[in-house]
């Protein structure tokens, strides 16, 4: 091989992303005529997600399968997808990413040393808790909700009248069980695989955050490729993304079935309007601090 690459992925074997990243490695070798090989390190064994992002930017790793959430603090454009309720649903998110909006985000990331090659599905995150179904923002009022480390997520809970509680992921199960926090939020597969459904049995389909994932490559490595190689690498990534989205849909269905059989009460939220309305201050504060991003936010909101 002319080049031996190394890639990072946080998920364990059998997870849609893991299978798809292995497929990417296989396609990469095939499409580049054996010029490039990729050695995948699954299960986050080479570090946490923010660390791996840094490793790809520094050139210690060539490839990573990253969620855009932790890329937000590095590339401001990527943080836009962390605005609550910015996407109507998953298909809307993909329409944005595959259009002009995706272009803007990709350029912002490339300027920070990360070139996204293709977009993966990570579903939608919804609220869950142990007390009651959530139907209106008032149901969140007074609730201690675990959030990931991002000012937008804590701002979201605060505006809904809840008490945002950042907490290490590993502590959440016990915290839910004992009531240190009342609820948390995540997608179907994580809600199921972490066992959180055992201790927080009300899952309300708020779908407040739809944050995509991507296959990223180190910018210097990418820019050093010939046009032909660039095309081959991108093609391999896009084909692996097609597989990932298929596997993801199946995995979501399995997880949903598992937690429903486990006795979880699932509810649709009939009117998400009040939730979206409550987010106005979050958007205002965010855009006041990042005025350059207003066109991107507008662009996403007008994308059909």
């Amino acid at each position: 091989n002319a080049a031996d690459w190394r890639g990072w992925n946080i998920h364990a074997d059998g997870y849609p992303n893991t299978t798809a990243m292995d497929k990417f490695a296989e396609l990469l070798e095939e499409k580049t005529g054996g010029e490039i090989s990729l050695q995948m390190f699954h299960g986050g064994t080479l570090g946490s997600q923010p660390d791996a992002i840094e490793q790809v930017r520094l050139g210690g790793l060539e490839i990573g399968n990253f969620n855009l959430g932790p890329i937000g603090p590095i590339a401001a454009e990527a943080n836009v997808v962390s605005l609550p309720f910015i996407f109507k649903d998953v298909p809307h998110m993909f329409r944005v990413l595959e259009g002009e909006g995706g272009q803007v985000i990709a350029e912002g990331m490339a300027a920070k040393g990360l070139v996204p090659l293709a977009w993966y599905d990570a579903g939608a995150r919804s609220f869950y808790n142990g007390a009651k179904p959530i139907n209106t923002p008032e149901d969140v009022t007074g609730m201690k909700v675990r959030v990931m480390n991002n000012d937008l997520y804590s701002g979201m809970i605060a505006e809904l009248g809840g008490n945002p509680s950042p907490m290490a992921f590993a502590e959440v199960y016990q915290a839910l069980k004992t009531g240190v926090v009342d609820g948390a939020e995540n997608n179907w597969p994580s809600y199921e695989s972490t066992g959180h459904f055992e201790v927080a049995g009300f899952y309300s389909l708020s779908q407040h955050l739809i944050i995509p994932e991507c296959i990223c490559i180190n910018a210097d490595v990418y820019n050093g490729l010939s046009d032909e190689m660039k095309a081959a690498v991108t093609e391999a990534a896009v084909e692996s993304a097609d597989l990932q989205r298929e596997l993801w849909a199946a995995r979501e269905a399995t997880s949903r079935k598992m937690v429903e059989e486990g006795g979880v009460v699932v509810n649709e939220i009939a009117d998400k309007g009040p939730f979206q309305a409550a987010m106005t201050p979050v958007y205002e504060t965010y855009l006041a601090g990042n005025p350059d991003l207003r066109p991107l936010v507008d662009l996403i909101q007008v994308t059909e």
Binding site: H11, A12, D13, G14, Y15, F41, H42, G43, G44, T45, L46, G47, S48, D51, E54, Q55, L58, G59, G60, M167, A168, A170, E171, Y173, Q174, A175, K177, T178, G179, V180, P189, E192, S193, T194, G195, E198, V199, S255
Partner: protein, 426 residues
């Protein structure tokens, strides 16, 4: 070749007497350099080794332990304990084991257990005429009960590494009996060694003295109530309970016992940061070392080797145990759970082993690894707390290793030990 640089440098550093933490860091950096990796990533790994929120409990438990020790709580606790069971040979050894069972069960962290109980019990055991190596050995080996007895952060890491499908509550239930079994084996070992060494049993001081020592110990015992009760009732997370343990110990020694002088407080703080820094720098540098082991695919290659050797289930299980023990000796627990689970769990399931039981086998193995040189954080902390050179402690630790191994063999070959409770209550 790169792996040779990593391990060779490490061995060389250890032999010439470089502190083990720095030996890990230096050899990892040599391997980073050898592979042409950016050295900044080596620095990142060292930082990330301790940029972990769950580790935050460590300084708190160390601090609470130091305050309890320098402020006089520990002395009263031990006065009571030795009044109660001092009349048994090796009484304090057995007290040590069972307090780990309770305390470690709550904290879920072996290192925190040693920091807290070790700082109290080791000095007292020495004072009562127990040899330092015995005190350290009992403390170190019994601390791994905390990993097995629920709740346990490491169990959650295991469930996540297994990629879902394992119920965490069942996993917690599965840990109860193996934990009790391990503690019983250790208590027997503690008793037998005490008899062998001829530690004199103390004279039973009578019921009145026992009662008085109990009353004197109540405010101190309440520290445990704060920590246990706080976590079980859901007022605190484990980390917060550590901080409150320290705050409570401060208040009790200052206002109730009135034994905390400024000088004692200062000593407690300085001793705590000294121990904390030693533990943390080791975990930090082990992070960089583990990265390079993963880079060289050491765990993967080990697993491949294993399955090409034999297809006899009992032999494979035995070999998995041996491999885990060896890896546990040279790597950190959390990293190993994440690396080994995806490799060994499918092998185990294909042999018809329940994932819950496999989880217990993994925990006990890696837990034992925490008590072994050259990379054993529990052993390091225990030796640091007991102010004992590691090789002195290791020379006499084997009866306790045997006790854990006995428990491990039963857990490995008798599925009911792990599966009975989850089956009944799950």
């Amino acid at each position: 070749m790169g792996l040779f640089v990593l391990l060779g440098f490490f061995a060389l550093c250890v032999i010439i007497g470089v502190p083990v933490a720095f030996a890990l860091g230096i050899s990892a950096m040599a391997a980073f350099w050898f592979e042409g990796l950016p050295l900044m990533i080596g620095v990142q790994r060292i930082i990330s080794g301790i940029n972990v929120f769950s580790l935050m409990a460590i300084p708190f438990f160390i601090f609470a332990g130091e305050l309890m020790f320098h402020g006089g709580i520990a002395a009263r606790l031990v006065r009571f304990a030795s009044a109660a069971v001092g009349a048994v040979r090796g009484g304090l050894g057995i007290v040590n084991v069972f307090s780990s069972m309770l305390f470690g069960g709550i904290s879920g962290s072996a290192v925190a257990d040693i920091s807290a109980l070790g700082s109290i019990l080791i000095p007292v055991m020495k004072e009562k005429g127990y040899d330092a190596d015995y005190a350290v050995n009992v403390t170190v080996t019994s601390s791994i009960a905390g990993i097995i007895i629920p709740p346990s952060h490491n169990m959650i890491i295991f469930a996540i590494a297994a990629g879902g499908g394992i119920s965490i509550s069942k996993l917690f239930l599965a840990g109860v009996l193996p934990g009790l079994l391990m503690c019983s084996c250790l208590a027997i070992a503690a008793y037998l060694v005490a008899v062998k060494r001829g530690y004199s049993a103390e004279v039973f001081p009578g019921w009145t003295a026992l009662g008085l020592s109990f009353i004197g110990a109540i405010p101190g015992l309440f520290t445990a109530v704060i920590i246990v009760g706080g976590v079980l009732s859901g007022i605190f997370t484990v980390t917060e309970s550590g901080a409150f343990g320290a705050i409570y110990a401060f208040i009790v020694t200052l206002l109730v016992y009135r034994t905390l002088t400024w000088e004692n407080f200062r000593t407690a703080v300085l001793q705590s940061v000294r121990t904390t820094a030693m533990v943390m720098i080791l975990i930090a540098c082990a992070g960089a070392f583990a990265y390079m082991l993963t880079f060289y695919r050491v765990p993967d290659k080990t697993a491949t080797l294993l399955t090409t050797l034999t297809d006899n289930p009992i032999l494979i299980l035995l070999m998995i145990n041996i491999v885990l023990l060896i890896l546990g000796m040279i790597m950190d627990m959390a990293a190993l759970i994440l690396i080994c689970t995806p490799i060994f769990l499918p092998v185990a399931i294909s042999l018809g082993i329940d994932p819950l039981q496999f989880g217990m086998i993994l925990m006990v193995n890696l837990g034992l690894g925490l008590c072994t040189p050259p990379v054993g954080s529990c052993l390091f902390v225990g030796c640091a707390v007991g102010k004992l050179p590691m090789e002195t402690a290791v020379r006499t630790i084997w009866p306790f290793y045997l006790a854990i191994l006995a428990a491990l063999i039963m857990i490995t070959f008798v599925p009911a030990v792990s599966l009975t409770l989850p089956g009944l209550l799950g």
